[in-house]
Symmetry: D2
Subunit: 387 residues, 4 copies
């Protein structure tokens, strides 16, 4: 259970990698938001496999259909149902996996938990499950764009030992990131990362990486003390992505080495708004957004399924060796940015509606309110204050 | 809102630092569990202030009362209400804080969110809120101890630039940890940490730190795909603790630099149970516990409130300077371990009941089941397989 | 929002009457339960329209597809996704309804709430939304049948002024009920009800009715004090069905006229089980099932959409008259029994899992437990103790 | 578990009749609402026992303390904790009840569920649990009064066979109702009801009754399709009150006997607002409030605990007889109105915040919005349109 996320803007995903389809139901989206299959598709295209040498060869178009909740191009306030049919399945690749547990994979745990599993591919633990998150996340982004001008940027910050130099986020664009086959905005680092991934792939191996997320025009006052703090929900959202094993926000682990006088972001008031001189907090204090950009970083472990032989055990407690077949991403971090953005957008949209509910975007009253919100939104010519 | 945590084993905390009392209500605890005020008090004593030179001088006994849910020494299955009266309040310390926003603190965000706040101390963002978590966490620990023999160890792994060498967890005890004034089990590191904290304190400053958590005898199969993965809920739980800004499980951020062939933990079967040779996963695969120890690490930023003067702004958009009075911990990490253990126990107890509900511990049937569970629990003479 | 129901065994429905499809996602169903599209279809066939003169002429096969969560004929523990394509839509019937608010219908309220609605048919308030409930309810019934032998019977107890005499529930069968075109097990009453409905229909009118529900082999101890009492959740479940305006359990409103000495059901013990001599409680005391049959009764108002002209107002505050076109049930109570059973099954399955979680039906351990549960289940030769 | 109610405006109650105290935590109340212990106390005084011959002789002041969430007379947006100490306990009255299960009472079910119970009084099933609901409900009422001018009236509509004639609700006042010892606004009926109760009491018996609820100035558009319909949540709320066994809204069960052309409430527009000529819907269509008064009716069974001897069984499966001692209400309906109002207010406040969140009542912006809402609220000179 718990395939649902969000208290008000709430998504439920469903589907396995080798079943007929995957999808999601998004409940709680306000009425009147312009939505189309094209905008959802554009986001799904960023996560779909078969995009180049550094991703899995599994080639699927991942064409999305909206089955409910949208009428005359706008959301109606009722649940939005998305479906994507599964297409390029090679179930025969999975004979070995049915017998042997992949080290580092969820196989064993699913059997321990459910006594039984769909052994074709990862079943429910497959990255295809994230399709539903990206579809719903696309709506969340559209919503946040309308009500607050919020924008999301996510990129690969490291692959193995190769680090991307910290980008100038005031100039960074989605196009720059997506132009790199490994989604790293630095050209030199991008090339080295690509080489690292291909080398791992050619050895039947995989490699880990980190992903950075930067969100600007974040509405102030989002986050619910004490358990649904903004930081806490972002952490849950990120760690819920397959292969994510670490999360830090603002200065993160580096903050643990600092003195308070250095770490505390000085506050100043200007034009009846509050700003900070630095952003070690990463946009969240006391679990509540302060209007500064959210900045966080996630660690992704290397893909568990590799073709190199590994010692492991089987369903009947026998010990042996597995060299996994199948088509797998050698580095999951490369496809993670759009998933990271989607999960963050789902968190923010839900917290926004908890903070300020606005059911009907179509009325004059609501429009005025939205315009006021957007103007209130601090204009940030200089958003280069990243930690 | 969202002062509640857990779907079945669910705690709700309440209270401000300068109100009459703080407390918690724990709903969903199975009936028949032996509970006493003494065992709760023992845990609260580990977190209470006034324990030495490295913590705040605020001196409170934090005496807990149980007001409901326990009859003849055992839980009845109904809500357990805990209350701790506030005692040693110096509200007059807070005149400045009412006017100026503390940099790095929640003050500004509470005003942005609620338009108004209890400016005496941190109000709801005070660390005193965690009293309710520790009280409920003590029950969670007692429950897990009975049903699975689960044990928790948490210690300070670094303060500023001082690192504690990785301990031999097979020999590490709670007594060793608690014997150190900074809760660091390594004697040399403990002394250097203490010196670091006192030096920061004498400068009117504060310092950050990291805290490690190690859990053994973890029941298998805990964690609910996909959004309530074990890793994800632990991350949320930890980031919900005031001042926590980072979380990693198993190899964590180091995993992002590894190859899959190195990172994947080899599986072997022995005596009809599965084990892994290493524990890079930190006890969780696919978001589900595999029975290996849970191992994770949290980053705590330096205390925001310091007496060193800092630039900041006030409620009326005026710019100025604040040198905060009041009695504050110079390093919050030092008091974090029991809170970290409590939050982890709340996560595991809730996931345990989601996986296997067992309402009445007192019946013969349930006893037999618990004995079977404990025996199933892998005996681990050698738990020194930590990453 | 709130298209989800149930804390653990949790269904989310989606879809509008005139969108491409309707469906549901069922999360939290234990693994190992045998499920097929055929068994879901059999239940859907009981609710589908076009079954005779007393139901709407809209003729749809309502063919269900399972898109996830079932592998090799058994549930996997992951979300089960159901979809039913909409087929026989006559959107042109709805030109008037787009302009005029139907008296007694949700039209006006949807506009007040969302500022905008899918005016073709009832949109989300259409009875087609209940398809998802019946699909998920079929799984709930299958689950309860396996774990406790639970059985559901629901019938039409009155239509307009025609009452069905209280049936002998010890002999009553589903076949008897379904043999009647109005789902009334008494032949004479059935004929009079049919005549009443056809008379209303021929006058362009509609008529109300009541529906009874009887559940035997109810597991003991279901229901969570204090807000999720068994009675309270059944009431919510029933009132959530379109057109339902009243609920009573056991003696219900008649109890309010009784003395305690008459109303209290005497308890006796026999063969180490407890029984009651009467069942004025309707199977629930203190909000917890006592093992006696659940017996409750629901009031359904007459269908709002009628072709008789009615005074009403339009979207632009104009006053006028509407004679609604379209094909509508003259008496919704007639199609309600399978929906009533489904909602009750969803309540019981969720409460069962809250009381006693059992994830994997396939293991030996679980099988033994289930057999014990079934044997514990009081055998009731005489279940004719209905109030 | 499930001692919590409400998604956003969420109350958690705790406490047993014979433990040290009872109380509640209210989370999610917007900041800035004026609240005092006096206003809570005034509501509690309406439900407290010892008010006359027709209620239990248990005499408790039920003095409430607010322990958190209120600062300088206003809510802070953080959890509000209420506590009421238990005082007048006669635990020795309960020796028999520890041994024998009271027919019609929750005793047996608590033992079946938890294997064990606090046998002094009703424990958690005691009516004292409702103290927490009334305290939180008082805040909900205050909130709704401020944002929408909402007013609640509840009275005893029948006791045994004595019915109160339908009052003219346009003139009915709380004072009129509370002036009657049985809370029946009709003088003659009040006297007959009192006689009925005293006669039952003198026979060691008890008697049932019904309670009516009328709410005016209900905000429009409250209720979340499909499972959290306004009707459905009201039904759950009412059936969660101890001894409630039936609920109907608007015409309720009478609607089941009507034709649609009679039942449908005609709509008319006037001054850019919509009204209905009758109110058979009871203020809710499609599960959403239409702005008309909410009108519903609840059935309360007779008190289970009576001193008349009754056949029953004991904990060890022995059969015998119980003549219960202790001081019990002979007719629980008499003390129900304030509880009924409180539960309804909790439902409406939660749905209001789901529909329209407004965290900070203190800001100019929010004030303007509230004033607009109040003016939008239909003025209803003639609210005598009750069914």
């Amino acid at each position: 259970m718990s395939s649902s996320f969000g208290k008000i803007f709430s998504v439920t995903t469903w589907g396995e990698s080798h079943g007929p389809a995957v999808g999601a139901v998004l409940d709680g989206c306000p009425a009147g938001l312009p939505i189309s299959e094209e905008m959802i598709q554009a986001e799904l295209n960023r996560r779909r496999p078969g995009q180049g040498k550094v991703t899995t060869a599994r080639n699927e178009k991942d064409t999305v259909k909206i089955l409910s909740g949208v009428f005359e191009g706008k959301t109606t306030g009722t649940p939005i149902s998305f479906v994507v049919m599964n297409e390029d399945q090679h179930s025969n690749d999975y004979a070995d996996i049915a017998k042997w547990y992949r080290p580092g994979h969820a196989d064993l745990c699913y059997d321990l938990k459910y006594g039984f599993r769909d052994y074709r591919g990862g079943g429910r633990s497959s990255a295809r499950e994230t399709i539903g998150r990206v579809a719903a996340g696309a709506v969340a982004k559209a919503f946040l764009k309308v009500v607050a001008g919020t924008e999301f940027l996510s990129w690969v910050a490291s692959v193995g030992e190769i680090d991307c130099p910290k980008p100038d986020v005031s100039k960074l664009t989605l196009e720059q990131i997506e132009a790199s086959p490994v989604r790293c905005p630095d050209e030199d680092a991008s090339k080295m990362m690509e080489a690292t991934i291909l080398e791992a792939k050619s050895n039947g191996d995989s490699v880990g990486g980190t992903v950075s997320l930067y969100i600007k025009n974040v509405p102030v006052a989002l986050g619910e003390p004490v358990f649904d703090r903004l930081d806490a929900l972002l952490a849950q959202a990120m760690l819920s992505i397959p292969a994510c094993k670490g999360f830090e926000i603002g200065s993160g682990f580096a903050a643990a080495r600092m003195r308070g006088s250095i770490h505390n972001d000085k506050i100043y008031a200007k034009d009846n708004t509050y700003h900070t001189c630095t952003n070690n907090a990463g946009g969240s204090l006391g679990g509540i957004s302060n209007g500064e950009p959210i900045y966080c970083r996630m660690a992704f472990k290397p893909t568990a399924t590799i073709s190199k032989p590994q010692d492991t055990a089987g369903r009947g407690y026998e010990n042996g060796e597995l060299a996994a077949k199948g088509r797998h991403d050698p580095c999951v971090a490369v496809r993670a940015p759009v998933i990271v953005e989607s999960m963050a957008a789902l968190v923010l949209a839900d917290l926004y509606l908890q903070q300020e509910r606005n059911h009907c975007l179509g009325t004059e009253n609501a429009k005025a309110k939205i315009e006021a919100l957007i103007q209130n939104q601090k204009t940030r010519e200089a958003i280069d204050k990243l930690p």
